[in-house]
Amino acid sequence: MSNEVEKSVLLDRRGFLSHSGKIALSGTAIALMSGMSPAKAMSTGNTDSPEQDTRILNTAIAAEHEAVAAYQLGAESGLLSKGVLNVALQFQGHHKEHIEVLASTVRKLGGEAADARSSYDFPVHKLKSEKDVLTFAAGLERGAVSAYAGAIPLFDNSDLAKAAASILADEAMHWAILRQALGLDPVPGAFFS
């Protein structure tokens, strides 16, 4: 399946922005999660769903921009061997693709996608070897998996959840590969927490 087809499947416009442009009620989902009865939750007339979804997506975009910048820092550090550098650049490319899809989604929701920051406060002083860079990158990827895992339940729209889950899976593969490169068990458990 080509990348374009994958994106199309992930963010099928019909499923994503159909129904008169209305997104399912994330606010309702949250009300339900907080213990409110379904009837009451639906009756709140929550209209903040697109804005809320946009905020969640923009937080993800911001984290993806950070990942792109982190891999750039690693690539320019001069600390990576050729093989590792190639993998790092490949992973960076994935994060750029995530940004494209997420930003496109935000725009479809009528929002404005978050931009990359002009600078990032990375702990550069701690990066003195290839292992340091790999450990740093692994930490970011592991955190990204957690972030998507924590955000997916907030999407009431199953297409958004599906797209986020697809990205989560990609980040998890990055994390496993980086752990492998560090000589660690690439898949340390049956469950991720």
Binding site: M33, D48, R55, I56, P123, L140, V145, A151
Partner: protein
Amino acid sequence: MRIIAISCLFAISFLVNVDAAISDTDVSVGERLYTQCTGCHAPDYNRTGPKHCGILGWAAGAVKDFEYTDAMVRSGIIWIAESLDLFLTSPFDMVPGTSMGFVGISSVRARQQLIAYLSQLDGSNIQCK
């Protein structure tokens, strides 16, 4: 008098030991739980979310050089254990409009352990120096 003093010392010692045991466990487990936060946060520097060193006692939206949502700035929250517990239960319920896209932690114990870890991220913590 001597018996009372010894009893008091024993009681204090017992309380301190219990407290220390709980805190040690909580902080240790809380540190592991904190990895859930590391998609956006770090103890000592701002990322997609603000840093956490010194969080206890801060007003929400107070970290320098971090761009908060209006919702967070206007929330009026002071970060103490109780408010952190409410927020971590369901960020969107406590601060509608927050950009923290996290569903929350349903386990009371896990929240306590995470808060125990966050609480010791003060100026004396090596991660905050």
